[in-house]
Symmetry: D3
Amino acid sequence: MKRSDGRQTNEPRPIKITTHYNKHAEGSVLIEVGDTKVICTATVEDRVPPFMKGQGKGWVTAEYSMLPRATQVRNQREAAKGKLGGRTMEIQRLIGRALRSVVDLEVLGERSITLDCDVIQADGGTRTTSITGAFVAMAMALDKVARERKLAKFPITDFLGAISVGVVQGTPCLDLNYEEDSQAKVDMNVVMTGNGKFVEVQGTGEDSPFSRQELDELLRLAEEGILGLIEVQREALGPIAGLIGNLAHADK
Amino acid sequence: MKRSDGRQTNEPRPIKITTHYNKHAEGSVLIEVGDTKVICTATVEDRVPPFMKGQGKGWVTAEYSMLPRATQVRNQREAAKGKLGGRTMEIQRLIGRALRSVVDLEVLGERSITLDCDVIQADGGTRTTSITGAFVAMAMALDKVARERKLAKFPITDFLGAISVGVVQGTPCLDLNYEEDSQAKVDMNVVMTGNGKFVEVQGTGEDSPFSRQELDELLRLAEEGILGLIEVQREALGPIAGLIGNLAHADK
Amino acid sequence: MKRSDGRQTNEPRPIKITTHYNKHAEGSVLIEVGDTKVICTATVEDRVPPFMKGQGKGWVTAEYSMLPRATQVRNQREAAKGKLGGRTMEIQRLIGRALRSVVDLEVLGERSITLDCDVIQADGGTRTTSITGAFVAMAMALDKVARERKLAKFPITDFLGAISVGVVQGTPCLDLNYEEDSQAKVDMNVVMTGNGKFVEVQGTGEDSPFSRQELDELLRLAEEGILGLIEVQREALGPIAGLIGNLAHADK
Amino acid sequence: MKRSDGRQTNEPRPIKITTHYNKHAEGSVLIEVGDTKVICTATVEDRVPPFMKGQGKGWVTAEYSMLPRATQVRNQREAAKGKLGGRTMEIQRLIGRALRSVVDLEVLGERSITLDCDVIQADGGTRTTSITGAFVAMAMALDKVARERKLAKFPITDFLGAISVGVVQGTPCLDLNYEEDSQAKVDMNVVMTGNGKFVEVQGTGEDSPFSRQELDELLRLAEEGILGLIEVQREALGPIAGLIGNLAHADK
Amino acid sequence: MKRSDGRQTNEPRPIKITTHYNKHAEGSVLIEVGDTKVICTATVEDRVPPFMKGQGKGWVTAEYSMLPRATQVRNQREAAKGKLGGRTMEIQRLIGRALRSVVDLEVLGERSITLDCDVIQADGGTRTTSITGAFVAMAMALDKVARERKLAKFPITDFLGAISVGVVQGTPCLDLNYEEDSQAKVDMNVVMTGNGKFVEVQGTGEDSPFSRQELDELLRLAEEGILGLIEVQREALGPIAGLIGNLAHADK
Amino acid sequence: MKRSDGRQTNEPRPIKITTHYNKHAEGSVLIEVGDTKVICTATVEDRVPPFMKGQGKGWVTAEYSMLPRATQVRNQREAAKGKLGGRTMEIQRLIGRALRSVVDLEVLGERSITLDCDVIQADGGTRTTSITGAFVAMAMALDKVARERKLAKFPITDFLGAISVGVVQGTPCLDLNYEEDSQAKVDMNVVMTGNGKFVEVQGTGEDSPFSRQELDELLRLAEEGILGLIEVQREALGPIAGLIGNLAHADK
């Protein structure tokens, strides 16, 4: 099969992570995956939400938004509508859940990290790109926390990346752009850790249910793609990359 | 492993579907899966949402809610809070998507079916129970539509059931109740058609990422469980069951 | 006059109260009055709303809702609209006020009882049916409180029932169903205690003002009807019925 | 009994109606009942709400609000809270219903009258004062409509007044001020027409149920009080008073 | 140039300030500027908003609203819409800012003054009229505070008035009424203290940018107009006027 | 005086305008003024808001937002709060008004241009930077419209820039950064056209009223600063700059 932008079925789009993109945030990146561009900032606060108080544990949460003209047709702002849409809530719950899976909340202590993922240009895969970028911003912020608050160990237990896969014109493909995504019969988002375990697998075949065999092939593509993303994260993080999972691995 | 309620790991809870539970709705059931009880009603309207107008196609959508005291601790009503929570939106989007996957919207014509799933008592698996019950209510309503509006063929292309699976105390288990669900390290909801294809696979390992092998075992359990649910649906539907997928299969 | 369902003008519809309908709530019933069906649950919490704090007194409040397809035509959910309608607020204020009139809030102490009245099928008289059912759920919950917290006496001072009356085709009638209610020129809801005193009298003649004589006849019908409802409550409550008003009467 | 302001139990507070209080509205008054002051304006629009369209009939509706400092303690604005409270909705539904009971909506034709009742100072009885004042503003506006649109007859069928009564320190009293109202065991609002028929009777004995005998005495007081109010309305309306109920009576 | 109501270009409309207009508020006026009428009440509370706590300083804030029929065409209530419009927010922020500029918040101590400005009839200049009236209500309330809480000195440092100016048919004019305002090419609101300093200058030339020379002439007209308004405030305040700026001037 | 970043009192911060920053929008820039960074996109739609319909004229509107971590401390999203704050509304109304002042809406025809100004990093002057950037994005979009829809002439009548000025430590300064802005006694935003006329002058001296002489000096600084900004706009626009005001000037 020939993909619309000439890529192989297992070929991801070019990815670029610019760190320290925001001068105020404790951690921040601009992540570009093809034409999808997301600003991810990490904010550290020395308090936790009410439902977590007094447990000696930290919290990681995420918010997701698209600028109105991130898309081909302008979207009305959710602030103007007065409420968050279902899609937004679903995505930000996913991002938060995914990031928490690789943070040792007890090591973090009663602090919270908020990851803001703001899509400034969208071309497919905004939720997975947000996760991949937010992980880097979070690691930068936690490095700052670990150093300033002298944490016993680094609270991130493993790398974490996310990518979309789907069945386009009958063929399983990696990292769909918007055009492919809108034609895909099956659409799957996969979040995986550095040691190859799944954190989230969300496949949907609204227009056409999928077989076990298709599912297996999609998971294989995603696995391969995410390992590639993690290499880019490692490079962007530099020395911080070396802290991830070091001690945490040992005593888990 | 011994499950808390004595079930085998691959043993579902008792299921009961009471049809014609509501005298006003075009289709309705009370579905009970263990102590989880959901009223599902199907409403037929001869119009479609604005974004679907003029396409000659129909629409299927769902709304989900829990009575405040469906749970052990009373939940504040979303109507009183003034907005739908993220969990509710995520679930009702899932139910709608799942049901649409087995409806031929062109055969349906410019009509919409709204499935209301109201949980009157919750004990785990409310979203999958809602899908399983809503399918029956929808089939009843579409039978009424098909007869009254003389549709060319029956618009449901296949059966559809849903179940939750998860890894509890290290063991993959079928159909988790609330107690198991709150301890599960991995939690997965699977929606499948009568001919064994997946419509939705949503697995999450927030507390503990899961391996490919665990994923495979969970999918196997879900597959077996859903085929059992479909037998109960078939029985509840009686003669209507015979219409499902009949003609649709032929020319697809 | 011949009523549409063959009843005499002073004949109520069949009433059925199923207790322990919900396994989580401290008190719960399914009440059926003709085709009107309401689930009433009572939730006990060991705290009071902010405006009641520090007075050593308890609080009783109610919430009311209809499932979207409780009615012939589907109603949009108030949670989806983002606000409670005027009718809902009016009804839940009425239910709360009515129940409080027979509870000794000082005996109750700094606790609150929330009555959730969810109409699962509507055929007229949903607000009065909610009051009659909520009274039973509340008594069950307070029995639990009285035993567990060793209250000095039982905090319910009297029975409480409610019924609707109205002028249909010129004739005062008891317990209107939906069809009658939509034709009625005058519509009145009456809430009364076991010893025959009025707690609420709400009569409205929007389409046709009513005379003092009609008012008198409506009150007479309501009085008779409510005494009948209280007999059913007494039976449903079994031994708990004996506690109501016992000590409270003595020292009031 | 001695009332706090020296009035007899059946003595109303002084009432003053200033017409043409607003230069923009089709009808307007400032009504003062004791220290309770309400601005009532009537707005005429040549359209009806969506649910009334195409029936050839008109509509009358009301909105009610209090300035934040109408009361002893400042109330937060409902506009700032972002929603109308239950009390406000209940009151404005009552005012609208009451006024519609004396308007022949078919004679009015497809027009709507909106009565805005804004309490600028509150000292008890704001809802009944609103009804009494809004009736006059409405009559002024309908006189304008009747003349300009050459209506077949005057659409108001009778006078309409409202007053509160209650049991204060064991004694039934007329027209309670705020101090009395907060002590009253029973509180009742009565809306009556010029020919002595009831439009609304809303009695509540939250703190103490009331007997049939008390109810009878309260209704008697209200009846007497409302006839007095109607005399003041008649005077305020001048020649317009003569139009009310003239033709309408004949063919009803 | 001939103004529509016969005034000279530098001639303000008649102004009238009625004090003690509301029996509950700590300070209150009805201010009338031509046909524009605003009720201003000042509420004193012995607490400050959360962001001001513990600083030993007070706070002054304002809220602004128009009755629905203050205008020629009825406006929908913001409480019914469920949110404040941009215009309202802009105006109430302006009023609060302006009043704070002449209050010594440290002398006031941890108290807050809320100025409610409710327009009961609008004919242009409602925001400037609100400021001029609210100043008087605030002074009355602070006089009460100063006497009852024995403040070290009177916390108001200077008089404060506001007026609108604009370019109508090419000519700069003072104190525009609604008709003039809707034709004006340039519209400016000026807030000034008793000693001739500017607190706010807000000029806008949406339909036609304005030159520096026009700006200068508008400011000159405003200056003259505000000094006139302050004379009326002084008279309305009587002896309280003497307290303003007395001590504060000395040590500033 | 020595400014905190070493600038002269009349020295603006470095400004950089990157055009074509977004691949979807009809016009777009990233504008950087010192550390303040704003993405401005212009969206063209072939329809106007309801209140403008049928007048043959176009409309220009703006929306403004800050990413949560654009500031030193994270701000809660307005979408999460469910409503726009007063500051946001005030700013977006200002931006829209300013841009409309240099667009010939009749030449534009029944089309609307929406300018989205999203602050990705804030360091003072975000509203004026938004105006300066949005003007360029709008010109790019209108160039596209003018060519594709063959407009009779180019609808922009003049250049438009905006800058903030203020009195810092007693000295009037140009283009305040955040640190200066928070200390400034007087704060003024000025919007001016290419031919030196004022569109908006908004000066506020909440903490300290300002004299006529200070006002004059601030306006002089702003005038000089804006002419500098317009040079940068002209360069960024390239050939499009030549279209601005060309024909429009002639026949105005």
